[in-house]
Every structure is written in C-alpha cells, then in structure tokens.
C-alpha cells in the first residue's frame, strides 16, 4: 500500500495544467511512466484505468480523489452521472483508512 504515491499522483494531475492535459490524452501511458513516488502494480494499474472506485478502496484522500475524478472524467461522463457513480462505487468500500 502506498497511499502517499497515489495522493501525490492525484495532486499532480489536479494542480498542474500540463500534467492534466497529458494524462487525459493518454491515461495508460502517463501512469505507466510516472515516477514521482513509489506505487504498487495494482495502484499503478488503477491510475492507468482512471478507476476511482479502486483508488477509493486503497484509501486515496477523498478530496484529492474527487477533484481528480471530476477533472479526468467530465465531460466524457456528465458531472451529475459521475457524482452518482462515485457514490455507488465508494459505498462498496465503506470508509477506508486514509492515513499515509
């Protein structure tokens, strides 16, 4: 488990316009190459898939994760639908520990 790495990745995509553009253009490639902090293979794979449900289950910080999810899925999925999907997928994990 490397929550620090997940959170650092999410924060970079959220806060740096160039990183955001590059990741949205090629999530699989960008996350495969990312070397900002250690990640487990499962964590990296979830980032390659933009899989917010799995990242939630790993204990990503909910603020960073929601901002990220909105930034990389809208407008492909409407915000309203994404809010709903996020509710469903996070509910499957309850409230995981988020301490790093």
């Amino acid at each position: 488990m490397s929550r620090y790495g997940i959170n650092a990745f999410l924060r970079e995509i959220n806060m740096a316009a160039a990183a955001h553009r590059a990741y949205v253009a090629d999530p699989g490639g960008y996350a495969a190459e990312w070397a900002g902090a250690p990640l487990t293979p499962e964590e990296r794979a979830a980032l390659q898939r933009r899989d917010f449900g799995a990242l939630y289950g790993f204990g990503a910080h909910p603020y960073l994760l929601w901002s990220f999810t909105e930034a990389v899925w809208v407008p492909e999925i409407s915000r309203a639908e994404l809010v709903e999907r996020f509710r469903r997928e996070s509910a499957a994990h309850g409230y995981p520990d988020v301490a790093t």
Partner: protein, 273 residues
Amino acid sequence: MAELVGVYGSTHNPLLWRARGQDLDSTRAGFDRLRDRLARARPDVLVVVATDHLTQWFYDNMPAFLVGKAEHIPATFWNEEREFGLPYRELAGDAALARDLLGGGIERGVDFAASDAFRADHSVLLPLLYLTPELDVPVVPVFTNCMAPPLPGAARFFQVGQVLRQAIEDSPLERRVAVIASGHLATEVGGPRHFAGSPDPGFDERAVTWLAEGRVDEALAALTYDRLREAGNVSHQFLNFLVAMGVADGRPAVHAEGARSRFATSPFFEWEP
C-alpha cells in the same frame, strides 16, 4: 497594544461561489449578516484560521498549526479556478502581527510552524470574497491540519485559540484584530454521501448548540476523529470553530446558525470579543 475586535466563524464551501437558487437565500443572508458585523468592528487585520485542501500543505511536509508570515499572499490555485470558477487574487499579509502570533504561541507552548511564502486556497479566499469583498484588509493566515490524519485533538484546537487571543492581546502593535475561523459542519466530498445536502443534520444541530451555549467540555469530548468522520468524511474542518471558541475564551456565541441548502448546512458564528 493590539485589540481583539471580533471573532467569527464562516463556511468556505467553494460550490457556493457560482451557485444560484432560492435554497441559498439563508446562506447569502448568513454572509451578509457577518459582513455587516465585521464592518462595524472596523478591523485593521484579519487572522483567518483555515485548512487548505492538500494544496500548499501536503503529505511531504505537513504542519499541525502554521502561521503565514508573508507580506503578499497569492490566493487560489489553478484547480480551484477550473473546478469552482473561483478568481485568483492577491491578498496583503501582515508579517509584523504574524511574528507576534508566532512568538506569542511559542512562549505559551504552541510551537507553530511558520511560512514566509504562504499561498492561500479557497478556505481563506472564499469567506473574504463575501465578508470583505474589496479584499482591502490585510490577512494573517493560520493553517490548521484538519485534513491529513492523525489530526491534533479537539482540545488542542481550543487551546490554540486561547493562546492566539493572548498573543494578540500581548502584541505591542497598534492593530484592531478580528479572527475569522473558516470551516464546515457535517460535510462529505468524495464518498458515498457526497453532494446531497448535509450528511448528518443531527450532528449539525448539536454542533451549533455547543457553540451557541458555550458547551466547551461537551464539544471537546464529542469531537473525536471517528465521530467527525461519521458526520461526513471531511467534517473535521469543524475543528477550526473550536479555535474561534478558544479565542472567545469559551463564551457562548452571540450568533450561531446553520443555513441549509442543497450543498450542505453552512455555519455562521459570531462571538463578542
């Protein structure tokens, strides 16, 4: 000598900024009321107690409590412009008062971290956009960690408020100082209960009552990390209102309300200085 002229608590929910609708009338009224009260207090400087959202302060270097000593404070980050439509602004700081708060805290056992390059996010800017729309009153930001567990305990937040009051009153600077705590009631973002009004109206009601009636011991006993998370996964920013309660020496608030809307229940508090 510096003089404490007002103590307030405000929401900083960034979704309010571009939202419209009648369900927001009581929230707007809450901001309007605080703006009038603050204007009457005629502060020279605002001490804003707030928690950034892992924007400037992140897991690579996370202070528990920090005083922003910068003379110029850029406010909001690119993602907040994108996500909430918030403007980028530059605030004036007050490094002289910040130094007195830092030193006054350390003398009394609160070892604040300090930053000469503070950048604020919406937790500082959003309340100011409503309460001092001209952004013409300098700001000393006090960052608190309500975001990255383990958090300081509730009693520590209260104590930091008491110490801030003493440090303000001990400052030899000629300043009229108002303290604004920025926080939330029950709030969830990025979880199963997000974006559907308050996730825990019962908590909101009790929390407002603690402050309205000055029930310090009850609040400190109840506000554990787990209880706050039960109220909503990011409700911990309520702890900033304990700092304000400490600044007011635990006296009952003269005004305490939770304004309901589709986003959450927005807190507005005022204490006599």
